[in-house]
Structures are given as C-alpha cells and as structure tokens.
C-alpha cells in the first residue's frame, strides 16, 4: 500500500444538523487499493435502560470538529494504510435516525475493523458532544451527566 499522508487518509469529517448518509461516508473512503471497508452507524434507539425514548438532542462544543480531526488523525497514524471518515449529527433526532456514521477502509478487513472501532471509541471519549434524551414519560436527561 503506497504511503498516504495522515491528512490524505482522513477523507471526510463533518458535524452538521442535517440528516446523515452512509453512502456519503462510503464514497469518501472508496479507493481502488482498498479491499475491506468497515462502517459503524449509530442510530437513536426507542429505549434506554428500560425507559421508552421519544427523541434525542445532540449539542456540540465549537472545538468538536477540531477534536474529531485530532481523533481521526490518531486512528490513521495507528493504522497505516487505512483511510477514514466520520460524520456526526447535531440537533433533534427521532427514533431510528442516524446520529453518527464512521468508516474506515484498508487493504484487509482486520485493519478496517480495528480502525473503525478505534474511531468510534475515541470519538465518544474525546469529542465534546452531548446527548439529551427525551423519554416517553415526558422526563429528559443529559446522558452521562447524572
């Protein structure tokens, strides 16, 4: 696999308040040298810890995109030859809607899976985003802040 610079390997990063598309991420990391592509899609579930969920709201800190880039560059550095993309939604989402799509492609599936998993794990740990859950019973809470 010819060497790709870290910048080139990060194909698409976005945080936006319009519906997300898996195809967009797939297209961004398509590459003839690629044999395996792993994509993770996070969607709004209709329940959490036994409570019915109606809607989810996401807020982002202004640093979020900068932090997402740092995370993505960390992933491609840890997985040479991989190319990655990540898009995250902000605003109000109903059940079933896509909150995040991350993708990683590499010559072989082992790297694609490992890079994709690290990308979503590090995004969750290091990118300043917050999730506000609105329950069917009318109550609401910020996830992780209890």
């Amino acid at each position: 696999m010819t060497d790709i610079s870290v910048e080139q390997a990060v194909r698409l990063l976005a945080i936006r308040d319009t519906p997300l598309s898996v195809d967009e991420v797939l297209a961004a990391i398509a590459d003839p040298r690629i044999g395996g592509t792993c994509v993770f899609v996070g969607t709004v579930r209709d329940h959490d810890a036994g409570r019915g969920v109606n809607e989810l709201g996401y807020d982002a800190h202004p640093n979020a995109l900068k932090e997402l880039r740092r995370v993505a560059e960390g992933v491609v550095a840890a997985h040479p030859g991989s190319v990655v993309a990540a898009v995250h939604r902000v605003g109000d989402l109903s059940v079933g809607e896509i909150a995040v799509v991350v993708g990683a492609a590499a010559p072989h599936r082992a790297e694609a899976f490992a890079a994709c998993r690290q990308l979503i794990d590090d995004l969750k740990a290091e990118v300043p985003l917050w999730k506000h859950q609105r329950f069917a019973d009318g109550s609401a809470e910020w996830v992780g802040a209890e």
Binding site: N63, A64, L129, W130
Partner: protein, 89 residues
Amino acid sequence: MSRSVIVTLRYWAAAKEAAGLAEEQLSAGTLADALNAARARHAERPSFAQVLGRCSYLIDGDPVGARDHASIRLDEGARIEVLPPFAGG
C-alpha cells in the same frame, strides 16, 4: 484568597441546565475559587454541584486536565468553560 480577577464561566449541556444559564461572571483568584463561588451562587439548585463534580474544564480554550484547580491562577477576563462528560455517537 489570592488577588481576585473578574472571569467568565461558560456552561455547556447538563452544566448549563443545572446552572439555569449559559454564562456568568464572577470574581476569583484561582480556578478552585471560581468553582466554589459558582457553587455558592447556585446553592439552591440541587444538581449544580453534582454535575460540576463530573465536568472537565477549558481556560481560554486550553484543557485544564488533571492539574490541581487551586494551583491554577486566573488572568483578568479569563474564560472558563465547563464541560460535562462527553456523550457523542
């Protein structure tokens, strides 16, 4: 108390909800003083102190990380951002 300066606290997500406002100014010498002053000011809001205990902080955009809050002297007009635990994805 070391000499005090006027600083701004900017609250995000759960911290904003617990404080009942996005931003406020107060007088403090160190980061620890600022957080104590904020707790005192919002003493009547039960969840405020609890959420604050779980937050991370930026001062003028730089992460405070694990540094001891009492040892961080604040500059005049410092902007302290209060970030609850991240919950993306």
